[in-house]
Subunit: 176 residues, 2 copies
């Protein structure tokens, strides 16, 4: 049932993403054009404090044109492992260092048209590292109890794939 790639054209090579226009042959011999976005991959961190609170970040997301409350996250840099990326992003965004990470799940964000894969880690035994600059207006750190997180999901305030998968997969909440 595989598709065979017969021609690839780079239609955009950006700083973050590369866009391909691929011609493929389907199993039944028919040809199709597929527009594919290559992304380097990303991580998200479900950081749980000793008191059970979850560390989240609120920021403006230009792509969707609104504020969004999410798990700390970031794009994997060239040559960087997902684990190193997760520890770096957690400290950069929240000021916390984690003694250990456990992988919770990895998933494809939208496999019909992009190869972006995202790994969600659980971070526990947090300690304060380098404090974030108090003047940073781009991102605010929000620490919520599990019940408050669940209410934020119900209100649609937390509504991106990585945060929902990490939180639902960790806490086992139903949405209906």
């Amino acid at each position: 049932m595989q598709e065979q790639l017969i021609h690839r054209e780079v239609v955009f090579a950006g700083r973050l993403i590369t866009v391909y226009r691929d011609a493929v042959v389907l199993p039944d011999g028919e040809e199709r054009v597929r527009e594919i976005v290559h992304h380097p991959g990303a991580v998200a961190i479900l950081a749980i404090k000793d008191d059970g609170c979850v560390v989240l970040v609120r920021q403006y997301r230009h792509a969707i044109g609104r504020m969004s409350l999410e798990l700390p996250a970031g794009t994997v840099e060239p040559g960087e492992s997902p684990e190193v990326c997760a520890l770096r992003e957690l400290e950069e965004e929240t000021g916390y260092r984690a003694r250990g990470l456990r992988e919770l799940v990895r998933f494809a964000v939208s496999p019909g048209w992009t190869d972006e894969e995202l790994v969600v880690f659980i971070a526990e035994e947090l300690e304060l590292g380098k404090p974030r600059p108090a003047t940073d207006e781009r991102l605010s750190v929000v620490e919520l109890t599990a019940n408050e997180v669940r209410a934020a999901i119900a209100r649609g305030e937390i509504s991106d794939a990585k945060s929902l998968i990490g939180l639902l997969g960790y806490f086992g909440w139903q949405l209906h």
Copy 2:
């Protein structure tokens, strides 16, 4: 904390996606370039049979280069509502018609760089509509019990955002 768009350039206009290179001003006055992919939006359907089995589809995903077991899903067409799209895609991909749909959740697939929003519906009271052509080698319909679905998630066979969010959010399963 909003960002102000000061310049937008269309760098790729495809059949499915449009890619923008946007110049924005951050709250602290700094300028940034953001590569944004516009996608028309999509739906996924968590279709539950009267016996409790879940209707899934297995297909090759060129973007990630492998087979993938997923909820039935599709891209919203121009002028189409998510509900109409969901009923159409469910029947096209699986042969089932649903008497009713309930929205389970909607989410942004990767809000750092794309506006794609996906709506997950629950479909119950299924009946067979127009049968799918038996010669279709592109997609196969797989009906699994809830326990079999959970095992497929644990094996990583189901590992895309819409399927994980729909299944975890419906069944309340933990991943650890």
